[in-house]
Symmetry: C2
Subunit: 321 residues, 2 copies
């Protein structure tokens, strides 16, 4: 079994061979640009681990990993148009740098290109791979649509948010692992367990992401701490706080949301702590981590093959033990 | 061999079975909406004719025809965002009715769904079909990107415009015919000839479209006659006029383009006629029609099988003989 860093290096090396045509430059330069911005390549590496759980990593696994990474970058391009985002990973987004129309078209051509990569498969699972890829791609669009709708709504329940975030982010990690397993020749039962491992891990990661935005160490957290609070983003924390707060806390929270007090972040955090939202979020994250691990245990391969996936989970969830 | 109208009825009937999920409605209602706006369904019917040129029409042909029609509607959704178009076929565009973000996402999910339809193929040509579908889809994006770029440029040559319009519109008709031929089991040679028939026919159709916008009978032409002239659109006519006009005509044309004179359309049309642009356009259309017909003749099947494709060409190009 190979480590995340070893697989990441291998992935990156061969991913450079994914080329776009030279012309028209106006269309393909943005595609090249977004791929150079980088990223941790978590999904394609998870996919390779999904293959290696059952078999040696064959070239087909790299083709699907490349397709997943292109698909992920397509979603970033289109999301940044919708969010009018100026920056991604510290540099201008494609829409900010090249304009919305080009970002739209470049995203389209990148999505189409991901099917070119799938179409390189030599194994007898092209149709199975496309079916899961499509299902997941549609779910990601559904999650993004719900996210847009939730922004405009007054109230979102915990279950609604959980469903949205599962569609928008978790299923792509789950599908990456399962696509790797398909290429690796895994049984349906093992594929299902691995998918559930990925889905629960993805949810735990998202809970952590919401938690760190509020309670993270500013020196370690990549983004501005309190950003979600300042933008009134409906997160696991805010949704839960509104559900458990007493009448006084709830009305204080709602007037804070409606205003822009200079100490808005501190005041909201105080209410979160009074409602024990921080403790609740950590327990919820642990619950999903535990469920992920139980699904990993179900998979009928030698335990020694699972080591790197356990390390991946701990790495994503910043766990020491 | 079945007529356009018979195939169109059959296509429409089974196309109704292409369903989108009920929820989230915010994402899938726009998909349902654009399909009810209708359209002539030229591409899917051409595809079915491509199959019937060589064989009986099997269910696989309908799957690919459905995918082509979904793809075409995806391009309409995204084009209307880029063009900020308020209306399509007399009713509000998806972007005008549901907003740009939803039109973007609904377009994405419709493109993904077209691959779901391709993935229903039972014949041994899934990979061949996806390869041509992808190539064509990327070319359509390239054509749209060039169209956007040309709008901002001072000068566009005839060859550049021809290339753009071929990518943006002709290759999809050509590919539809060829995809039908693939499903029908045609030889590579026959596939190539049919593709060239469609490509030249598409170019002839586009020349006619530009011609009718300027010289068409307002009572028969669906759109406002002179619309291209009013919006300074670079068309076959304008590009050719700027290439053949003498110094006086050219400077008159350029000052007309820069202004908004009340008789702009009449004055530009007068220069077009002085430069014999109308005659040139009709000859050019005939040239591409003739080339299309020559490629149709190359196809090694009984002449009697070609009747409906000849009628399709005449219908598209409004020819009596």
């Amino acid at each position: 079994m190979q480590s995340f860093s070893s697989l990441s290096t291998q992935f990156e090396k061969q991913f450079e061979a994914v080329q776009f045509p030279k012309s028209p430059e106006g269309l393909y330069d943005p595609c090249r640009y977004i791929l150079t911005i980088g990223g941790k390549r978590v999904r394609p590496v998870a996919l390779l681990m999904g293959t290696e759980l059952f078999n040696d990593i064959v070239s087909d696994a790299f083709h699907v990993a490349n397709a997943i990474e292109l698909f992920h970058n397509f979603t970033l391009m289109h999301d940044d148009i919708m969010d009018k985002a100026p920056l991604r990973r510290g540099v201008p987004t494609v829409s900010a740098k090249f304009g919305d129309s080009t970002a739209l078209l470049a995203g389209d051509v990148m999505l189409i290109s991901s099917y070119d990569l799938l179409n390189k498969l030599t194994g007898n699972y092209l149709s199975t791979v496309i079916a899961l890829f499509n299902l997941t791609a549609k779910q990601v669009c559904e999650g993004q649509q719900l996210d847009i709708e939730f922004e405009k709504r007054e109230m979102v329940t915990f279950d609604e948010y959980l469903n949205m975030i599962t569609l928008k982010t978790s299923v792509l990690l789950a599908a990456s692992l399962r696509l790797g397993a398909i290429v690796g020749g895994a049984s349906l039962g093992n594929q299902n367990s691995l998918y559930k491992f990925g889905k629960n891990l993805g949810i735990a990661f998202q809970i952590q992401d919401d938690y760190l935005d509020a309670f993270g160490d500013p020196s370690k957290f990549g983004k501005q701490v309190g950003g979600d609070i300042l933008s009134n983003k409906k997160t696991f924390l805010l949704i839960h706080a509104l559900e458990v707060a007493n009448a006084g806390q709830k009305s204080a929270l709602q007037s804070l949301l409606q205003g822009n007090a200079p100490d808005k972040v501190e005041q909201v955090l105080k209410i979160f702590k009074d409602c024990k939202v921080d403790q609740w979020a950590n327990e919820l994250k642990d619950k999903y981590y535990t469920m992920a691990m139980e699904h990993l245990e179900e998979i009928a391969v030698l335990n020694s093959r699972k080591t790197e996936l356990i390390l991946l989970a701990k790495y994503l969830l910043q766990r020491d033990s």
